[in-house]
């Protein structure tokens, strides 16, 4: 049977067909749908883990104990999981372990553009790279075979365009996998120096064997055509190449690490001019150059952003394509949704002229004008440690002008440890948790404080107030962010406090509640055109020349605009 599947759905299908028993993940664009989709298979245990490190560790536990496991994350998630990653390469697996990492060239939804291929190289782990949904599924199945044959974890590197494109996939019956025997083996699974030294040798031998076998593996293949041009490529770049050079010869690498040196030499010998076409850093190119081969595309492509058929065509043929110019019009950056509970908090932060160490989530959008509510965004969890660092650097008086702002999912992911630090090292910072009862930015995933598992089953609810109290925070306030007066009052009070405090702004994401309340309208007789309401950056508020009105198809009836209007000119619509 054939089906149109997203690359991510195809990975999930591959996991099912490969007989995976345990699937773990922390959400992150562009990887999220993999595990959401796996959760629909009754045969597979699936979980949202609190963060990627835990997710990988759970998967390692499953694999070592004898059941196939898959773990999925976005590229920056692998930084969080890097500690177990480097050492599971030493221990090896037992049953198969596949680590799916989705990179985001072009940074559609990410804070950096890192390249997971280098992780494979640094950690001595083979890296497979599918180019469409069919390959995504097939490569998962193959990755499990490689993992067990060579006793190694395997990285499946996806990119946004493979993860989020749909193409046709031929479905197969699932393999039945028996639990493998688990045997206690301290020399293999307890990585203390004496054992690790021996395992490092085993790792090197395994990589040599893999390197040799990569010359004949089915997914590294030469498509011999016109020999004037020979292109080495992989992943989505292969598709762009095929689109523009129908007749070129191609060496397509399905496994980009370790490198198939013999195959590369064989290919290079057959073609007149050799090109390497890949997104981001010249990973393959540098290696091929290091082999002493001449490359015509050296430095031809930007390290930043994505490739396209047009870019490849005009670079290789050295022809300027006469493309139509883009229209010069206002941009449309993403914004907080109408009714978003984060909006009120930011309008108060702005009013009080506070600085905020921010974090990652929908609430990062509050950094943009006009709210301009946060000063920094580095990585998940950073806000809490950073606000503490600012206090230690600039003193307690300065600390009264700063808060940390973090989402509920992000707090559980990696904010907790920062808060423990504030208590332990006698800080006095205030941390605001914007608790919208979901992982919003990635499309509404459950987490330990939502009371539901990934399969939608009821789960114990992590009680944030009790948890934070147990860490040692004495002053905890829970505030409804729709209540602007109370929000202001509490923020003012807590930043002044000479002790650490946490404010939990609690109100579910506006997109979670399907019912729309009656929209608001502007009473034109009362409106004085002061533009205060524009300051909250609600997409439903429209200005035509001077006239302010509210788009009733966008308004979700939260009433924040009515709250900030000093002339009571914004009223709820009555029939």
């Amino acid at each position: 049977m054939k089906k149109l599947l997203l690359g991510n759905e195809a990975v999930a299908r591959g996991a099912y067909e490969a007989g995976v028993k345990v699937a773990t993940a922390y959400p992150g664009t562009p990887s999220t749908e993999i595990t959401e989709c796996i959760a629909s298979y009754d045969e597979i245990y699936a979980e949202w883990s609190p963060n990627e490190k835990v997710a990988l560790e759970v998967a390692i536990g499953s694999a070592i104990s004898g059941a196939r496991a898959i773990v999925s994350m976005k590229h920056v998630g692998l930084n969080v999981a890097a500690d177990p990653l480097f050492t599971v390469a030493y221990t090896g697996v037992n049953a198969g372990l596949v680590i799916v990492v989705a990179d985001d060239p072009g940074m559609h939804s990410s804070q950096n553009e890192q390249n997971t291929r280098y992780y494979g190289m640094a950690a001595n782990i083979p890296v497979l790279e599918p180019a469409d949904s069919q390959e995504a599924k097939d490569f998962v199945v193959l990755a499990f075979d490689i993992s067990e044959k060579y006793d190694t974890p395997v990285i499946l590197r996806m990119t946004t365009r493979v993860s989020h494109s749909q193409s046709i996939v031929e479905l197969c019956e699932p393999e039945r996998q028996k639990l493998k025997e688990y045997e206690k083996d301290v020399s293999k699974y307890v990585m203390m120096p004496a054992m690790a030294k021996a395992r490092h040798v085993a790792v090197e031998e395994r990589m040599k064997r893999l390197g040799r076998d990569s010359n004949t593996i089915s997914i590294n293949k030469i498509e011999l055509n016109d020999k004037a041009i020979g292109i080495i490529t992989s992943g989505i770049a292969y598709q762009y190449v095929k689109e523009v050079f129908h007749t070129a010869s191609i060496l397509k690498l399905g496994m980009v690490y370790p490198f198939p040196d013999e195959l590369i030499r064989e290919f290079a010998a057959k073609v007149d001019r050799l090109y390497v076409i890949e997104e981001l850093e010249p990973f393959i190119e540098e290696h091929v150059k290091g082999m002493g081969l001449d490359i015509h595309s050296g430095g031809m492509f930007s390290i930043q952003g994505e490739l396209s058929g047009n870019i490849i065509y005009s670079s290789i043929t050295n022809k300027d394509l006469e493309l139509r110019p883009k229209a010069d019009i206002p941009g449309r950056p993403p914004v907080l949704c109408p009714g978003c509970p984060h909006r009120g908090v930011y309008s108060v932060i702005k009013k009080l002229k506070l600085h905020a160490a921010g974090d990652i989530g929908c609430y990062t959008l509050g950094a943009l004008p006009p709210l301009e509510g946060i000063d920094t965004c580095i990585c998940m969890g950073a806000s809490v440690g950073m606000v503490h660092g600012m206090e230690k650097a600039r003193g307690r008086d300065e600390a009264k002008k700063w808060i940390g702002v973090i989402g509920d999912s992000t707090f559980i992911h990696s904010g907790i440890t920062g808060l423990i630090d504030i208590i332990y090292n006698k800080g006095m910072s205030t941390v605001a948790i914007l608790d919208n009862s979901t992982t919003g930015m990635t499309g509404h995933q459950d987490h330990p404080a939502t009371g539901k598992t990934i399969k939608g089953e009821p789960a114990p609810v992590l009680n944030l107030v009790e948890l934070i109290h147990a860490i040692g925070v004495e002053h905890i306030e829970v505030v409804d962010p729709y209540d602007i007066e109370r929000t202001e009052e509490v923020l003012k009070e807590e930043v002044q406090r000479e002790e650490p405090s946490v404010i939990i702004f609690s109100r579910p994401c506006a997109l979670l509640t399907k019912e729309r309340k009656k929209p608001f309208v502007v009473n034109q007789d009362k409106c004085r055109h002061c533009n205060m309401c524009l300051g909250i950056a609600c997409p439903a508020i429209v200005r035509n020349d001077k006239k302010i009105s509210i788009d009733d198809t966008l308004c979700n009836g939260c009433g924040l605009c009515a709250n900030v209007c000093r002339f009571n000119a914004i009223e709820r619509l009555v029939d």
Partner: protein, 204 residues
């Protein structure tokens, strides 16, 4: 009605690869439209690729979905200047993506205006001549007030199905095939209103 799929494919092959770009504002429901076209093209025996936007841009940003079908599709992305049809759910977005339209392409524009943040803030102006510029830059431009039609039917969310109807009229695929695809892809409680929305668009 029974439709002979192979015969249909024969009609369509005349068009070679069909490239459809669907653009709009995050949250407007563009994904459903592309998925309906995709499943329909696959059923007709074509190779199909769709490329979607998930994540950050879904929060009110500019979003685009690429739909390609034909004998063999490699890249899931349509290149600048290669779209046969653009369906724009919002008119400024129509102008933003207009350079993707081929010289002979058709652009379908929902006559709706959603102010982007820079306009709301007064840093930029929503261009007053959007439709004129689109008409000037395209060989064929169809403008429709799909939002009013959807509201008239009693549910502004069926706007995407109205636009699907307009698109259907531009492609050589029998209407029964479309209606079946609509039926299979919308929640069962909304099948009737979606079919009516489709017909409203189709008959424009």
């Amino acid at each position: 009605m029974y439709v002979d799929l192979m015969q249909l494919k024969g009609w369509l092959i005349k068009m070679g690869t069909t490239n459809i770009l669907i653009v709009g504002v995050g949250g407007q429901g563009t994904l459903l439209t592309s998925r309906i076209i995709g499943s329909l093209a696959m059923e007709l025996g074509y190779d199909v690729k769709l490329s979607e936007v998930h994540g950050m841009a879904q929060r009110g940003g500019s979003v685009v979905t690429h739909v390609k079908f034909g004998d063999k599709i490699f890249s899931p992305l349509i290149e600048v200047g290669k779209a046969d049809i653009i369906i724009a759910f919002e008119k400024l977005e129509a102008l933003r993506w207009l350079h993707y339209l081929s010289d002979t392409g058709v652009i379908i524009v929902n006559d709706q205006k959603i102010d982007p943040l820079p306009v709301i803030l007064g840093i930029a102006q929503y261009p007053h001549d959007v439709l004129d510029r689109i008409r000037e830059g395209s060989s064929k431009c169809i403008v429709i007030d799909a939002l009013s039609i959807a509201k008239g039917l009693g549910n502004d969310r069926v706007l995407n199905t109205v636009l699907l109807g307009v698109l259907a009229n531009q492609l050589d695929i029998p209407i029964e095939v479309w209606l079946k695809a609509v039926e299979e892809n919308v929640p069962s409680s909304t099948i009737e209103i979606n079919k009516r929305a489709f017909m409203e668009g189709y008959n424009q």
